[in-house]
């Protein structure tokens, strides 16, 4: 089965990857969208002072 990979997906904030699988006739059989990134803000804000959190989580997305 033929596979077309669009990597990275562009003109947006963040990382993404699209895999398109084609059958023998070239028709789309299935499409998968994946996000290949994780930073873990949910976990590493634990232990930080609450008043500092707005300035930390503003770095989730800077666009």
């Amino acid at each position: 089965m033929r596979q077309i990979v669009i990597d990275p997906i562009t003109r947006l904030e963040g990382h993404g990857k699209i895999s398109i699988f084609l059958d023998d006739t070239g028709a789309v059989k299935n499409v998968y969208f994946q996000i290949p990134e994780l930073r873990g803000f949910e976990k590493f804000v634990e232990g930080r002072p609450s008043e500092e959190v707005p300035q930390i989580v503003s770095r989730i997305c800077g666009v």
Binding site: T10, L38, K43, C61, V63
Partner: protein, 319 residues
Amino acid sequence: MEKLKIASYWASACGGCDVAILDIHEKIVDVANIADIVFWPVATDFKEKDVEGYPDGYIDVTLFHGAIRNSENEHYAQLLRRKSKILVAFGSCAVMGGIPGLANFKKREDILGWVYFESPSTQNKERVLPQTSTPVPEGELTLPSFYEEVKTLGDVVDVDYFMPGCPPAPHQIWAVLQVLASGNLPPKGAVVGASDKALCDECKRVKTEKKVKRFYRTYEIIPDPERCLLEQGIVCMGPVTRGGCGARCTSAHQPCRGCYGPLEGVVDQGAKYISALASIVDANTWEEAQEIIGHIPDPAGTFYRFGLPGSLLRRARNV
């Protein structure tokens, strides 16, 4: 003159560095006059395969943002290193780990556990975790592997220049681009787009005597708008942080959190700050010093806010 070929890439980043490049406003047109963009995911449609197709050394300058959090980040670091004459670690994350580097206070499995199983907003009864390889009926899907710890760009590849800041200040970006375009390059390994002096040197707040009897959390005090924040008992990283940002935070009555990194010759910004604190705490006894210092919550997460992976500590042990 032949146009420069430039690339801009984000690894473990937020995109703020890319926006900072656009914040040079109308000068972006001047950049287009001197340079062609050959890879810039946030703004153009070049793909990984395009970059792989370039000859080695084809790109004149790559501005690399973001920390190295996973194997894809490292793959791009190596790919762009090979394809670029000049590789710039651009922004605090690439230089020293940045905010994503705070993850080095946690263990890999605790991050994955919280995000995929435990957090109240997660529903994952099958306890599915991302895998580097997942078989699907049509073939195989792959994902990068999530590293044990966050690394800096310099940990994984040879870096030509280091440009700190979260994000780097636009006027500095413009200045650095002009220098790189001129061909009159600074020595390899130089910190560019920043001052050699401390943030305090360009902070306009009035400094008198640094003697602190009590530290305050920012919500506990309305600071005098003219006076040095640290002298008022607000933890400010200015004395141990490179200037060059234009004192953006302290001008807005926010303490410096150290995003421009340690001063020239200083290995560990957090340790340097502990040393600075020791000289300003106004205590006569050990107990009194403990009492004063005890008012600073989360010293490690504050003194190493932007630079844990690039510091001597690198990461917390036995957390």
